[in-house]
Assembly symmetry: C2
Homo-oligomer: 419 residues x 2
């Protein structure tokens, strides 16, 4: 939990740095709300539950669909800003990903970037109709783990594409190896040749450049298998996340890079909220109140796994408490003095511990501080109490000094600042 909290803190602080509001949605949604939103593969992975009242509920499968349902139910048409120009909010989402993954110090990472228009255009050019879109997407999504030859075979044998169209599709999809420099995006336009996209994609790359983002990589095969994206789609990966770790999954390939899938993902989904708002039976855009949305989510569990593995490799001792000061006693019968001192330091806001034994041994108390990496110890003794002082010990260096009680709070504040 200490590691988990440190990861969550980096993510939360990044969002707050960008003016985020915090909302939370229930762990469950009505099953109907979730169904049909995650494409072919996702739908199979949703967990159903039955509540006491007999309604069909499912555990939320992501945060996007519950968020859109929440906006629709509460008729919220904007959270951060209702008005925006092309690709500015998308660039900010990518900046947040870049900031979080840099701050977490998890090594090399990059953000794969694609656009729904490119995917659709590719499919149109290759003879895959809208009906086939979902199923072809879920095949292409497998390119991270399988070679193109296997995906090609699946597309022909299982998804019913012609050999000729699959080859055409492959020409686009395997452009993923091409990694455009951000200042040279006109190359990208030329390669794509999709007019509407040519207006949008270079703008986004330019904005990323202005925000100082260096981790973007164009990836035309990025589909994410989710039906709700309407514009930019992105996904961050950490290719060498678990490198050097002797994990069981690694078998005899000790030390080889092991991927953990995506650690952050998002995109634009302009129609999802409107879908929830439209009364049952109505169709067509004119009946809907569109609420454009763009966002990004982080895979906290995966980031946590990466950082825990890194700590393991570096043999880093993680502190699981934040205690700053331990109040020890040098002799017997000083429990009441320790308690009084402890109570007053808690009231001053210090993080303080003391032994729960009435007469603990001094050595055991100092050992506790060293084991738990508590930086400061205050040693209460008969003689010191008579002189109106208490002994301050710096646990790591074992340096000790007497501190007069009226100066104790300010001395402790300074000592903690100087650590």
């Amino acid at each position: 939990m200490a590691v988990r909290e440190s990861v969550l803190k980096v993510v939360t602080e990044a969002f707050k740095r960008h003016g985020a509001e915090t909302i939370d949605t229930p762990v469950f949604e009505l099953k109907d709300v979730l169904m049909g939103k995650y494409g072919e593969e996702g739908g199979k992975l949703v967990y159903d539950l039955q509540d006491q009242g007999g309604e069909l509920l499912s555990l939320r499968y992501d945060l996007t669909v519950p968020f859109a349902r929440y906006l629709a139910m509460n008729k919220i048409s904007n959270i951060k800003s209702g008005q925006y120009d092309l690709m500015i909010p998308e660039a900010e989402c990518l900046k947040i990903v870049d900031e979080v993954l840099s701050k977490l110090e998890i090594g090399e990472f990059y953000v794969k970037l694609n656009h729904r228009l490119l995917l659709e255009g590719m499919f149109a050019a290759c003879g895959a109709g809208p009906d086939q879109f979902k199923t072809v997407c879920s095949s292409i999504d497998k390119l991270d783990k399988q070679p193109w030859s296997e995906v090609e075979e699946e597309l022909i044998k299982e998804k019913g594409l012609t050999k000729e169209n699959t080859i055409k599709l492959g020409q686009y999809v395997t452009l993923r190896e091409y990694n455009p420099s951000l200042d040279n995006y006109e190359l990208l336009d030329k390669l794509m040749g999709f007019e509407e996209l040519a207006k949008k994609f270079p703008v986004l790359l330019r904005y990323c450049c202005l925000f100082g983002i260096k981790s973007i990589r164009f990836d035309p095969s990025l589909a994410r298998g989710l039906d709700y994206y309407t514009g930019a789609i992105y996904e961050a990966v950490v290719p060498n996340a678990l490198k050097g770790l002797n994990l069981e999954e690694n078998g005899d390939q000790e030390g080889l890079p092991v991927g953990v899938g995506s650690v952050a993902a998002g995109g634009r989904y302009d129609e999802l909220v409107g879908n929830f708002m439209a009364p049952a039976g109505t169709k067509g855009k004119e009946k809907r109140h569109d609420v454009p949305c763009v966002g990004v989510s982080f895979g906290i569990e995966r980031l946590f796994a990466i950082i825990e593995a890194k700590n393991q490799v570096e043999q880093l001792q993680v502190r699981t408490t934040e205690t700053e000061i331990f109040i020890a006693s040098a002799q017997k019968n000083l429990l009441e003095e320790r308690m009084k001192l402890c109570g007053s330091l808690w009231d001053e806001g210090f993080k303080v511990e003391m032994s729960y034994k009435a007469n603990p041994k001094l050595l055991n108390q100092l050992q506790y501080c060293e084991d738990r990496l508590i930086p400061l110890a205050l040693i209460v003794g008969e003689r010191e109490l008579q002189d109106g002082v208490v002994k301050l010990r710096y646990v790591q260096t074992r340096i000790e000094q007497d501190v007069r009680l009226p100066e104790l709070v300010s001395t402790l504040r300074n000592a903690l600042r100087s650590l």
Copy 2:
């Protein structure tokens, strides 16, 4: 969520100030783990769920039973400290309650305190056997909402106590009106006359005094209806929590105090972990590995309701974002300059927003800052850029000053500190 997070922060910081480790347990437990742990009333309130694999699961009903199950499963015999002397950890739990409720500024509160031994002794003296203990407890627990006469009637008619024994019980239970001063606890001993308790209770009151806790009130009727407590039992209440609020529940009694039940509760439960550790079928203490535990939980939702109600009464405007600086533009065509400045300030750790419009109007941008209580605005203009400066505006006072770009970061840090 902004209010909720502020409450959670106060609670979390208090626990960390006392050397807490953070753990989390799953939202679900096996139904078997929870059953029989919450007494008669509690058992009815547990929500059952059915998972994909067909195991009987229930939503956790409190945090204590899952925590004890976690300790037992992981064979953890101590979290904070394995060794302790009488009542010292209990006093620290009560100190945490006192700190949290003081810091939250929710008005008058007090902590009801009782002991399992007193409850058991009382029941023995009144002819209520161990079999009746649970059911009599759940009746006594109702004294917060019902007068003694109604509880008395329930005990006789529904729980089968004799009239005579019920009267004896009432003499103890209604001692709750007696509020002992912490320095005068010998009175308490005299009143109780329970030998074993007389050794323990005064010690706890003395320790509370040393820790500077002033909110304790003795309450012999406090039973909490939970089976697992073996020693001290405590519960914090805020009697006038929603005073002055025109709530619907209040009906025509507008302005009268409304209780919200307990906002924190806990106690000692020395046998719960051992119960989980004992192999099925074994009975008796000699087979068990006892893990003594004491703790306290806060009712976050109730605290949140109290604070939200208070904000409503005081018409307090709660900021839901933490943005410190807004980057505005005075003329058109300054989007790229704004983005570059924004990116560099994010990298410096500032909380910054800018408009998502390419050419927003200056007045709209400044209005946004005032509406959202953003304290500082930076105004980018053609002339200023040529001079290598940017205009810093203090939103509340509308005072403006030019800042040279190399000095921008330090000027902003100082400006934020001085707010």
